[in-house]
Amino acid sequence: MNRLTLDHIRPCLEGAVPGTLATCDADGTPNVSYVSQVHYVDGEHVALSFQFFNKTRRNMQQNPQLTAYLIDPVTTARYRLALLYVRTETDGALFENMKARLASIASHTGMSDVFVLKGADVCRVLNIETIVCEVGPPAANSLPWTSLLRTLCQRLAAQYDLASLLETTLDSLHELTGVQQGMLLMADEAGQKLYALASMGYPDSGVGTEIPYDCGVIGVAARYRTPIRINHMSSDYLYSEASRCGANADPLLETGIPFPGLSAPQSQLAIPLVNGQRLQGVLFLESEQELAFDYQFEDALMVLSHQLAQTMASLHNLEKSLENSSTVQPGTATIPDPNLPPLQVRYFSANHSVFIDDTYLIKGVAGRILWRLLNIAQCEDRLVFSNRELRLDSSLGLPEIDDNLEARLILLRRRLQEQCPAVQICKSGRGRFRLELQRPFVLSADSAGQG
């Protein structure tokens, strides 16, 4: 018979029913306390939420042998765990992961002012004893994740560029899991913030909105490269409560495009997309329902995230390697109608922001690119461009490695589609695109903005 492991009792580790913990001091006096969170670390370790300096805490330092009692919140199966206290973590991925979960539990139980995580007490699981077998109903039907992952991975592998990859990911998650709201965000080159490139289920797409690292579940997932999942609304992690998080610290943070997320989400899940050592971005899902994302959902999306991050990197490399050899697809350039009033395009070099007819469009790298394209169009009467020439254009100042150019062009294309249909960017081959202009335009820039 297989030995019972933590993987068999994951429902007990969701925080729905508090665990109890027995310790013993040096004099042999036992002690019992409740522990809000017995957190799954890996198949052989749990972490206990350390919230208070108390007798339990002192006992653990004197005698690392602990016993925990857990109840399955659905079946009422009961288990006793023999634990050995190993260490306490007070920062890093595990700590942040538990901090978010505890904030969610505290909010749900009206203990937000009392339950504050001081540390994650990591314990080795020496033995799991079944006290009472499952006597209740079987656990609620979970999604058939193995076959869903197979389908998802097949669909991702069939994508040929970044835009279709992002769109397929969100569409497929919606179709196969029923999740309604979500977005995909890319990490910026400096590793300080993320920008949304695709979304679903919101009145406004929010493409271009930026989230600083450390802000909300998305920013924490990015900073610590760990999944963050909360199943009850917690004001600590609400973007609406965060006063735009680091807006004061970073004057270049995109604040002109509001975060599109739910105003009162009950469940949120942020999954880091990591390829090798590099954070590519974050997949973010949310719901107006409590308990929308269980541990199986998180586990499955962590598996998917590796495929997604690898595919993003592969497509980026493919794009760069093929952009010199590809041919331009034939297409008829749209000639601006001279009878229509010209678009007034204004550029501010301080933050590279672009306004068209006094409406804000974009800033940062994408703003710089658009300004450059329009200047070339005006000076050279040319509407066809290659990614390669942008990469080599020193005036754009793109980093030589990991320039994220494809992502910036997707962002620019989406913003133009939503805000300025008279100017469009159309792909005309791998690594090539053209500007479609329906109206003439007039450029004006502040003194430092001549491109």
């Binding site: 042999g28 006096t29 036992p30 019992v32 409740y34 108390n54 007798k55 016993t67 109840i71 209740g136």
Partner: protein, 163 residues
């Protein structure tokens, strides 16, 4: 049955109301043992706390109590987090007496009412309290320490026994 004199009337009523009850002891090498009890009541003279629990679900703890007599009892009200811990060193194990099952029934009913608003229905409660009456036993203990253990300021404060 006399009311206990070693803690306030309110706390005395709280302990036996029918809440979540956990017990800990330890073996000769100070490895803690842990189980749950179904009900808590007082001895006729009010001087001892009596816990009613399943033998088959508590074999380690019963072995340890028999060996050392050390016992820690935590009683908590899930809906409010109000918690008390009682400790003693003279715990002994005995068989049930006639009206113990009625006490367990009262405890089950009250506990079910308390956890219902938290999303745990009566089926959950019935399963949690499922037992074979022949499997139950009681532990008697004279309290030597009572601690307030509700999370927040004052947690860990010793509040008894009162003289």
């Amino acid at each position: 049955m006399s009311a206990p004199t070693w803690l306030s009337t309110d706390d005395a009523q709280f302990l036996t109301r029918g809440l979540s009850i956990s017990l800990a002891s330890r073996d000769l090498r100070h490895v803690p043992s842990l189980t749950r009890a179904f009900a808590c009541r007082y001895s006729d003279d009010g001087r001892q706390l009596i816990l009613i629990l399943s033998r088959s679900q508590s074999s380690d703890l019963l072995r340890d109590v028999a060996a050392c007599g050390e016992l820690a009892v935590v009683v908590t009200e899930p809906s409010t987090h109000r918690t008390l811990q009682v400790k003693g060193s003279d715990a002994i194990i005995t068989d049930l007496v006639a009206d113990d099952l009625a006490v367990v029934d009262q405890s089950r009913a009250h506990f079910g009412t308390d956890i219902l608003p938290l999303g745990f229905d009566s089926d959950f409660n019935q399963r949690l309290f499922a037992f074979d009456p022949g499997d139950l036993c009681r532990i008697l203990m004279t309290p030597t320490d009572v601690f307030q253990q509700t999370p927040g300021p004052g947690a860990g404060e010793r509040i008894g026994p009162q003289s």
